[in-house]
Amino acid sequence: MAEEITLKVDGQPVKVPAGTVVAVAVAKAGKTSFRHSVTGQPRAPLCGMGICFECRVTINGQPHCRSCNTVCEEGMEVLTDE
């Protein structure tokens, strides 16, 4: 059984197995919209491999991080734009 870590998504604690990417944690927090496009449309992961940039979130204060290829860390603060 993998070690469990806890991070926050929009202030809400989420537990995931170590090695999980942030996109999974955001989905597990019940979010369907990760960010909004410049014209206000909701966006969520599409390619899942760092190419499409649709899954961007703010991680530890750094905007435009790709949640699909960033691994979760203990205590990480993740923000969608909601």
């Binding site: 410049v38 750094q62 905007p63 435009h64």
Partner: protein
């Protein structure tokens, strides 16, 4: 098909667009011709900085006059022009550059331009993402930024409401001995005055014109609102970027209204094509990181190059050409063309319509290039 007009403007960049708008507003029948789209040359690859400069009295006069005209135009510009009075922050890295801050402060203040000298603490408060051990800087709060192609298009739309016609995607083939413009589609244009506002391509229209290209590289990032708030430039820029002959880079970041950071700058003389030079781009970004260490955390989304139309004395050519009084020039604005486009258009229209000019036009007259006249050499 033949067209007759008072004024034919060759070049739908920001300078040609301003000339067209001013001439049309003065009641003249205007036709604008460009081989590409509106603002598709230097205008579209530029930074859009509206800045008062002090290289010479003539440069100061034209940039400060033009900035006033931008401030007047601002409220009519469309939202998409992204016009914003963000202010310029000239950064002094050391005491030598701080001397330059004080010289500039005196120069601007004496001429009625609002400026503010900042010490190390002041500059850190002004832009927290700058590195900590800087000497200070000069803030010019009324400088601005604009998205140039939209502004150019707006001016052409203004001209159209006064009856102007705009033809894009049509190349000027030649100018006949009678002074008619022959277009690539074989049609002809008979104009009272032809304004050569073709920037980097103006020597193609007027052979022998002393306008040469200086290449620049730019990088734009994703949106990081507030990362920097001023048009932030190293004062070393004055030492490095103004060298006419050698390649140079300088720290120069322009936050756009939407939060994107436009990162420059480089200057290369005689760099013919628009290929990106990866080594120069790398040096430019390293330079930016020396002033704003956290810049390496931003995502760059695009890089491009462009050419600036430079003249030997760093002043534009505004007025009748030497060889042919029917052909007027509005070219050679180098890296200040966005700023000085408005002053250029107004001065040119004033001269054509025999109205008094708000500032003396002689320093920009192509007549200064006549042999034996070394006043501006």
């Amino acid at each position: 098909m033949n067209t007759t007009c008072d004024i034919a403007v060759i070049g739908a960049g920001i300078v040609g667009s301003s000339c067209a708008a001013e001439c049309a507003a003065g009641g003249l029948k205007v036709l604008v011709i460009d081989r590409g789209p509106v603002g598709g040359g230097t205008t579209g690859s530029s930074m859009g900085h509206i800045v008062v400069m002090d290289d010479s009295e003539a440069q100061f006069a034209l940039t400060s006059y033009s900035r006033r005209l931008w401030a007047e135009l601002a409220e009519r510009l469309p939202e998409q022009a992204d016009y914003k009075v963000s202010g310029t922050l000239w950064i002094a890295a050391d005491d030598e550059e701080m001397q330059e801050v004080h010289r500039k402060q005196k120069f601007y203040s004496e001429r009625g331009i609002k400026v503010e000298v900042l010490d190390a603490a002041g500059i850190a408060k002004c832009e927290p993402n700058l590195r900590k051990n800087l000497a200070g800087g000069l803030r010019v709060p009324d400088d601005a930024v604009v998205y140039p192609p939209v502004a150019a298009n707006f001016m052409l739309e203004q001209a159209k409401t006064k009856g102007a016609e705009v033809r894009t995607g049509v190349k000027v083939e030649s100018i006949s001995t009678q002074g008619d413009i022959v277009l690539a589609d074989t049609s002809r244009v008979s104009a009272g005055i032809i304004i050569n506002a073709a920037g980097c391509w103006s020597p193609d229209i007027t052979p022998g014109l002393p306008v040469f290209r200086r290449k620049g590289h730019l990088v734009i990032t994703d949106r990081y609102p507030g990362f920097l708030t001023h048009q932030t430039i190293e004062l070393g820029y004055l030492k490095s970027a103004h060298s006419v002959t050698s390649d140079s880079i300088a720290f120069n970041i322009h936050p756009r209204k939407n939060g994107q950071m436009l990162i420059g700058s480089s200057r290369q003389a005689d760099a013919g094509d628009t290929t990106i030079d990866p080594d120069l781009l790398r040096r430019m970004l390293i330079r930016a990181g020396e002033y704003v260490p956290s810049i390496n955390r931003l995502s760059a989304i695009r890089a491009w190059t462009g050419h600036r139309p430079a003249t030997p004395d760093k002043l534009p050519l505004i007025g009748p050409s030497l060889e042919n009084q029917k052909i007027w020039l509005a070219t050679g604005h180098e890296g200040l063309g966005i700023t000085t486009s408005l002053g250029t258009g107004r001065i040119l229209a004033d001269l054509i319509l025999k109205r008094p000019t708000a500032i003396p036009a002689a320093p920009y007259s192509p007549a200064r290039l006549a042999k034996g006249d070394s006043r501006h050499g």
